[in-house]
Point group: none
Chain length 352, copies 2
Amino acid sequence: MTPLDPTADVLALTRALVDIPSESGHEAPLADAVEGALRALPWLTVERIGHSVVARSQLGRDRRVVIAGHLDTVPAADNLPSRLDGGLLYGLGACDMKGGVAVALRLAAALPAPAHDITYVFYECEEVAGDRNGLARITAERPELVRADLAILMEPSDAGVEAGCQGVLMADIAVRGERAHTARAWKGVNAAHRAAAVLRRLDEHTAGRITIDGLEYREGLSAVAVRAGVAGNVVPDLCVITVNLRFAPSRSPREAEAYVRDLFPEYEVEITENIPGALPGLDQEAAASLVAYLGVAPRPKLGWTDVARFAALGTPALNYGPGDPSLAHTAGEYVPVEQLRQCEARLMGWLG
Amino acid sequence: MTPLDPTADVLALTRALVDIPSESGHEAPLADAVEGALRALPWLTVERIGHSVVARSQLGRDRRVVIAGHLDTVPAADNLPSRLDGGLLYGLGACDMKGGVAVALRLAAALPAPAHDITYVFYECEEVAGDRNGLARITAERPELVRADLAILMEPSDAGVEAGCQGVLMADIAVRGERAHTARAWKGVNAAHRAAAVLRRLDEHTAGRITIDGLEYREGLSAVAVRAGVAGNVVPDLCVITVNLRFAPSRSPREAEAYVRDLFPEYEVEITENIPGALPGLDQEAAASLVAYLGVAPRPKLGWTDVARFAALGTPALNYGPGDPSLAHTAGEYVPVEQLRQCEARLMGWLG
C-alpha cells in the first residue's frame, strides 16, 4: 500500500492521489490508502464499505455536514503520472475529482474540532453504471451514516457553487433488419444502414434550455455507443444505439422517458437507466449559509452528480470543488493549484 | 481410424463422411480415413500435407483435371449424426461439402484409367481464416501438385455449374469526432452522430451488376459491423464502420480499393482484406468442354470460393457439386440424394 499523508500540502496530496491509479472497479489500492490515512486521525470514526470509506466526527454539534468525493476515474488516456506545468496540475482524475478528494482529506486532517460535525465520504464507482455506485450502496444499506443537514459534493465546479443537477436517462434504441450472406446482400435488410436515420435524427436534434431559480439547465441528447455486427460476411440484423439524455431537474424521469420515446416512435426503445436530477434547493438554510459565506453566485450543475442521492434522502446538497467541470473525462484534464488552495481555505474557514 | 469404403454407394459414403466430425482444425480423423481409402487404390500416388490429402493419377494423358473439396465443416449445431429423410440426407456438412467429397472419392475408386489425368485434392480449414486454408498451403508450398488444365471445385452449386467467383474486400471506415462529457455534449463532436452520413451513403449505394461471358456478377457493399462507444457518459470521438465489398472478378483488388476510397473520400479508410475473385474462364477449352458435356447453363458464383486460388495459378476453375449453396452453414443443411447420384454419373461419364 502506498501511504498517503493528509497533513502534506494540498498540491502534494493531489499529486499523490492522481498517481495511485483508480479506474472504476479498480479502486482498492486508493481506498486502502485513504482508509489508512483516515484511521490515523483519532477524532474520526472510520468505516469501510466495499471500496468506499466513511469517516465521522462525533462532537455532538447542532449540525452535521457531509463532505463527499468519489475515488474512481474514467479509463486512462495516456495521462499518467501527474505533471505540474506552471500553476496547473495535469493527470487522470486531477480535475474529476482527486483535487476535491485532496481538499476533503486536508480538512479531515486539519480540523480535529470543526464548528459542525463532519461526515467524510470517499466512494467507489461513480463513473460507471449507477448500480455499482459506492454512495448509492451506502445510502441504501447504511443511510444513517450519511444523514446530515447539508452535503457538499466536491465535484469540479471551478471553485464555485454549482447547484442541483440534471437527471440522466440511458436508452437502447434497436434498429432491426434481416440477416443475409453479404455475397447476396440484397436478400437481407441491413440494420446498420437503417441506423443512419436514428443517428441523423440525433445529429439534428436541438436540446432544451430550462431556467429554474434563475439558473439555466441546458439539456443534451447523445449517442454514446453504437453496436452492430454478426460476422464479417453477414448482413447484420440488429444495430443498437445507446443514447444518453441529460434532462433539467424540473422534468421527472417519466417525462424524460416520454421525450425520448416521442423522438423515436418507430423504433424499439428500452430505457436502461433513468434517474432524476436535483432541484437547486438554494432556498434551504444550510445551503444558503454556505453560499453566503463563500460569497459566490451559484451556477446550474449540468452533469448528474451524486447531489441527487442526497436530495433523495431529503438533504440539501451542492457541488463545490476545484477544477473546470468541462475538462472532466478529457485526456488533458487538469486542476489549477490556485483553486485547490482556495477551496481548502474557504471550507477551512467556514468549518473551522 | 474409421475405415471408409469408396467403392460403396455414394449415399452410404456421404453418410459415413458426415458421421466423422471434422470441424475446422479437427480434420485429422477424417483426413486419416480419406488418406487410408486413397492409398488402397494402386492407380493413385498419394501425398499428405498437414491434414490435406492429394492423390494423382500418372497416366501421361494430354490433360489434367483437378477435383477438389474441403474436408472441414463449420461448428456443429445439434445436427449430427446424419439422418436420411425421404430423398434428403441431413447432417453437418451434408451440403457443404461432404456430398461433393463423396462424389470425388467415388470417382477415385471407380476410374482406374480416366480419359484425363486426375488430381484429387481433399483439404483442411476452408471455413476459417484464409491463412489456415489447406489449399492455400498446397498452392504456396507445392504448386506443382495442383497444376492442371481445369479445376472442378465440388462446392455445393445445386448440381449446376457456378463459374468464377467474386472478390472480397474488407475495410474499416473511421469517423472522427471529439470527446466530451455528455453533460456538456455541445463541447464535443459526436463521431456516432457523424457516422450517419457514412451509413446513409451505404444505404443509398447501388452496387454494380457486371456481365462477364454472359454471366451477371451482382456486387454488394455492406456495413457488417459498427463500433462506437467510450463510456456511457462520454461523447464518442471515434466510430468505426466495417464494410464488406463483393466485387466482380473483372475488377482487380486495386480497382476495388479505389472504388471504396472514392465512395468515402473524406474519411480514413483502412483496407484489412482484399482478395481477387476468379474470372469464369468459360472461354477456355477444358472448361467449355465440361460445360458442354454437362449440358447445363452456367451461373455466376457470387460468394468467394477457392476457385480463385486456382485462377491465381492460371488454372480455369469452376464450382460443380451437389447441394443448395444457400443451405451452407445452416443447422438444417441437407443434400438431395438425387443430386449426389447426378453429379457422380455426369462426372463419371465425362472422365470415363
